[in-house]
């Protein structure tokens, strides 16, 4: 997978002054909404916790749990609606992390609402590590940079290429969030005790979050209602935050395709979501595929920026009314928009929020080989509808050397291919089902 390479008009430069250092970093975005020089400037109310969360976020973005070599990657920042959200993925795209600084978590001004990429480089992380509970810290989120101003020093980050799998992951993970359910809530002691049961090393088998009596623990034993966690060692990323939290809530996808661990520290939240297995990134999952096969009206996309305010809760009805869309025609608007990087998901609010990733739609579409396969099947007329009655659609789709039978019945879909047999739709539908759906839509 090739990286998305930023092309800067000018080289970044640092100008040193007596009072403060000023930094200019070149900018690059595929979608430029505003040209505000700075999004946020203000004081952090919980600098120690914020710093610990950002350090943990940096640990996530510079980690890798498959065979790829980890490289320090950029998180993205969204400011708006009095909130600042940092999001990032591990290099392997199997771990997603988000830090939310809620309205009372800062005392500053939102100068613009938008999303940008920023880099956390080693000096920046080191500077974060030196904050304590009594530190006075001002955070500035600029269009092109994030800087932490601390006792007269100024540490500024620089940008690096962002891998494409981030974009895919950032779209898929939101759709998984929308399906997740709250499963457990733990106080600090319970959370610490739970994390103590994480096995040492890198277990190859799945572990399960089970409750024995009043206690929760991780066990290799599969029991009824247990939450399944593959690659459990990834949870160690937040191990050091756990003793500091007020509570921890665990969310799980109904098919156990992902688990999400949200820590609460007053007005700061840290969210860690891990994919089903070590070697599986969110980027490789097919959650967004179904949403992407339906065409999204161009008017909606073009009007989106006028109506979207970063971090505000997404209201599909309002958007449809404003853009003159028939809501019935766009059944899963939220999923569609998040699949193309226009929405994020807030687990506490249980709602999507506006957040436009700075990448184009065509790029996202090109990233999904299964969608390309769908297009190819349709282009070559390999999908044949053989029956369509009472909401039941039967199709014959040409596969490799055989004809597969696809049956759509309401929300259910079946196919005779190996992919369907193996995953039962848990990792998104196969290309045969998607092609049939697209053909009849």
């Amino acid at each position: 997978m090739s990286d998305l390479t930023y092309r800067y008009a000018l080289a970044s430069a640092i100008e040193k002054n007596k009072d403060a250092d000023s930094v200019f970093l070149s900018k690059f975005s595929e979608i430029q909404k505003e040209n505000a020089p700075c999004f946020f400037w203000g004081k952090l109310n919980q600098p120690f916790i914020t710093a610990k969360c950002l350090i943990t976020l940096s640990a996530v973005v510079q980690s890798s749990f498959n065979l790829s070599t980890p490289i320090l990657r950029d998180p993205i920042v969204t400011t708006g609606n009095e909130m600042i959200r940092f999001e990032g993925f591990s290099h392997c795209a199997g771990v997603y992390a988000k830090v939310d600084i809620l309205p009372n978590g800062h005392d500053g001004e939102m100068l613009a609402t938008d999303t940008t990429n920023v880099d956390f480089n080693p000096p920046m992380i080191a500077a974060l590590g030196s904050f304590n509970k009594r530190s006075k810290v001002t955070l500035s989120v600029g269009k092109e940079s994030v800087g932490v101003h601390y006792e007269g020093k100024n540490v500024i980050e620089k940008k690096v290429p962002l891998p494409e799998k981030w974009i895919k992951g950032l779209t898929s993970v939101q759709i998984y969030f929308a399906d997740t359910e709250l499963r457990h809530e733990f106080n600090t002691i319970q959370a610490i005790q739970l994390f103590r049961s994480i096995p040492k090393g890198k277990p190859k088998t799945d572990f399960y979050l089970i409750k024995r009596g009043n206690k929760a623990l991780f066990s290799p034993v599969k029991t009824k209602n247990a939450i399944c966690i593959g690659g459990i060692q990834r949870l160690r990323l937040i191990e050091q935050l756990v003793p500091l939290c007020d509570k921890m809530i665990v969310f799980a996808h109904p098919d156990m395709q992902s688990t999400t661990w949200q820590l609460y520290f007053g007005d700061i939240r840290f969210c860690l979501s891990i994919s089903r297995e070590n070697w599986r990134g969110f980027s490789g999952e097919g959650a967004a595929l179904e949403a992407l096969i339906e065409d999204i009206p161009d008017t909606l996309i073009s009007n989106y920026d006028k109506l979207a305010y970063a971090n505000h809760t997404f209201n599909p009805t309002l958007l449809a009314v404003e853009t003159g869309l028939d809501l019935n025609k766009v059944n899963n608007l939220s999923a569609q928009l998040s699949a193309i990087g226009l929405l994020g998901y807030d687990l506490d609010d249980n709602a999507f929020f506006y957040r436009r990733l700075p990448f184009g739609l065509s790029r996202i579409m090109n990233l999904n080989p299964r969608l390309k396969g769908v297009e190819k099947l349709l282009e070559n007329n390999k999908v044949q509808i053989i029956s369509q009655e009472d909401g039941k659609v039967g199709a014959r789709v040409e596969g490799s050397g055989v004809h597969h039978t696809v049956l759509l019945e309401g929300d259910k879909a079946r196919c005779t291919c190996t992919w369907f047999s193996r995953h039962k739709g848990e990792r998104g539908f196969c290309k045969h089902i998607l092609a049939t759906k697209k053909l009849i839509s």
Binding site: I189, R196, S197, P203, K204, R212, T405, T416, T418, S421
Partner: protein, 967 residues
Amino acid sequence: MNNEEKIRYYVKKELVKKAQEFTDPLTNAELKELRPVIKELCKDLLTYQQLNKNTWGTKGTSKQYDILNHIGVYCLTKADFKKYCNIWHFERDYFKAKEIIETGKVSWLLNHIAKNHWYSYLELMDAKCSGYFEPEREELATSLANTISDYDYNAKPRVTYTPKNLEIHPESITEHIWYLFEYETNINHQDDQRYRRQEDTFDEPVWKYTFKQLIEKGKIDRIRLLKECLLTSNRNFNKVLSGWFYDLMLYLEPNNEEFIELQPELFNALSSQHSKIVNGVLKEFKKLYAHESFETQDFLDNTDFLLSSETKSIAVSTLMIFDKLVKKDKNLKDVLVEKSLMAFNSTFKDVQLRAAKFIAKYGDESNENLKDELSLYASDLFSESKAVLAEFISEEDQDALEENLYYEPVINVAEETRISELNDIDDLIYLASQSFDNNEPYHFDLLLQGLLDFQETLKEEENKVKLEPAIQRAFNLLMKGSNSQTGNLDKILANFFINYVQQILLTDKSETSIKFQKRFKKEKEEDDAYAKRSEWYNPVLVDLRKWKFRSHHKGTYHLPFLNILIFVFDLLREGKHQQLLSTPSHAPFWIEPLVLVERLIEYQQKNHTIFSYDLCLAIARCSMNETDTKPAYDLVQKELKGELKELMTYLLDKSAKFPELKNYEQALYQAYFNKKDRKEFEKIPAIKSIKKAGNYLGDIDYKVEIETYDTTDWDYKLRKSVPVQRQRKNLEIKEVELKDGLIDKLKMKRNRKQVTYDFINFGDYFYDDERNDLPRIISMFPNNSEIVFSRLVSRCFGHDWWEVNEEKIGNKIFEILMENPQNPLEAGHLMIACSLFAKPKSVKAYAAEYWSQLVSRDAINSNLIGEIIAKFQYIEYYPLKRFTDLINEQMMNLSQKHNTALLNTIEAAIPLMNNKPIKNTKKLLELYNELRLKACSNSLSEKVNLQLENWKSSGTLKKIIKQIQTA
């Protein structure tokens, strides 16, 4: 000679130098003209051929390649050069590349090496100064780490210390040296190398020494260096490198004032994932705490994680600093007491005890908040800690442990586990396409029933086509081999399916049939060709009755399934429809008794022939829960007749007497083993006469002993092998011989008195296929799988050679048992006891979880587990630590009932263990003491006391034995 002839001549004669001089005077146009001949020569010399009898290689020599490489770079395009020559040569030899670039004749080379190179630091800097490319920071760091040592393998010493390399470029010290602290390099290995070169007189660790020298010369800032060393602790470096940087800091011997200046970085280092660094920092804090500038509050901000650390020394050191801090400043008393509560999250007794003593000493007994906080930890406290904190914990909290753990009642037959029937042909098509994937154990049986039910509908042309994916999958499984999920049973199912399609379904002249028969012919030819090539290969596209597994599969467990396949195949050939008796009605392998009785009534009404293996399997899979058997029993009395009625009455009624049957003897025996009625065993001659019937009821003959064996050793003085005697720990299980001619299925006769147990033979080792078959093997007798348990002990669990497959088998068997628990007999107890000592933690954890469930259900004999453990530990067959760790982590304090069960287990084990204590006996006794204190047990059995007296002679055990005896 023209240019082309010259090249051919130089290559033929291997004249490297001449060839190098040859290109200098040529113009670009002349060089371009030489492309065809270079390509031709390259192709020819790269030809792979047999060089002599045992060697294969390329035609050309290394000198000839050198010539072509040298001329080729001037003549060929980049793409052609990459294709025919060694482009990596220039990626590694910087000065060679530079020489060519300087000629100005090869335009692409500069761009190429800018992106692809493996140059040394000095070469990179030369490239930078020459304006070729700008090296990345990370590669500067990586190469710089190697730059102060020069290697020459022909010189003595081979490695020379060359710090002067750092002074060639000023930015090396002003800028690049700091990159070493930002990126992971092998700088630590450079220091290690001093050990490997004995002839080198320079004995200092080179990099540490260099840094010290640079500081002394005033070339780098000492404080910055110390800070950077500490900051590396959180940069995701590997453990060794992080430790090396910490050692570098210590090597520079910072004084207390410097450490005070470094406090922010030291606090930052407390978050390191490496315990060496955290321990090191805490060690410094033990010295610094008294300093007036020590930031106590900053330290306390970081102690929550330290106290709950999984590394004992970290938590202990933190508590030691607490002790010192409170002595220094009494005002910190309350905050330190509150902070120290975090230590109760630790499972280390010493940590808890230290924290308890701290709280008892400095805590305020009247502080209700403190008491409330402590009550949250009450159930996790060790008795000793609890005793120390008696004033702070109420009596109510003292007994915080629940009486028993709740496990849901075992329900085999429930609405949510009911297997959906195949309603139409589409259901069958989808099932068929995944039947060979082993997604569910019951898919095997469901497919057979589906083919019987829809055999007529399948003959319609439009439905035949729909079977294409299933046919392809069956072919793939047979011809291309298993995947990680499939087992041996899937192969015989695939063979059955192909036979059915080839001989019964697609035999007409339709397009689908012709296409299939063509493919079958092609695959069959390939299959036969394989068989001809290898004597180990048994053809897979053969008649079902001729099926043979590949040589490594020596088991016979597939035979009942194979017989049923043959039975169904015959029905399909004859076009008969019949409901199979053994098709599970509930996942994963259960048959609801009522459903079985209804099927039997239908058989009686329609006068169907009962196939004995089908009936045996059906009986074996029948759920024996009383709630399930009651309605079925009533229906039996009402509707069934004759011997079937007697058989089912015996099966469903616990108190029914063993009947005498003429027709269904096999099924009757199966019913007897289902009921696991060990008491009646001696009273029933028919059962007693069955060879090895006792083994089906869990009897297992085994011994654990130290065995002396003869072997040979190489004697270096005599330079020959000499015989020696050695000892090894051995587990010997007298395995039940079940052969009796059963291995050959053709010898099986329908009137033989055989039950499904008779087929449980495995090869010497378990393979993936057997593991994947395990749920279906258990499905042959889910009510009583003792024979499988004994086989698993002898093949996997008993011995200590755990490999990946054994671990997966261990996990799999317990996964099945967790959902479908059985009351274990002796073999079951042995399997559980051995698994509690398993090397893989997952198997051990599964065994402990299963043990917990059985304890809750009163289904396990703790004394028997203890006796088995003692038998193994008499010779320390497994490390005792595995068991004591497991008790600590997973088995203790689950409930009062579980603690009692553990106490009984240990109490039963101690008297039977060796009089000479083995390693970790102390830990076992500490746990025993803890369990006794928790249970408030004062009595000590005579046998246990006698053993304790024996062990008293061991100095390390004296104290704990005294505690036990005086408790």
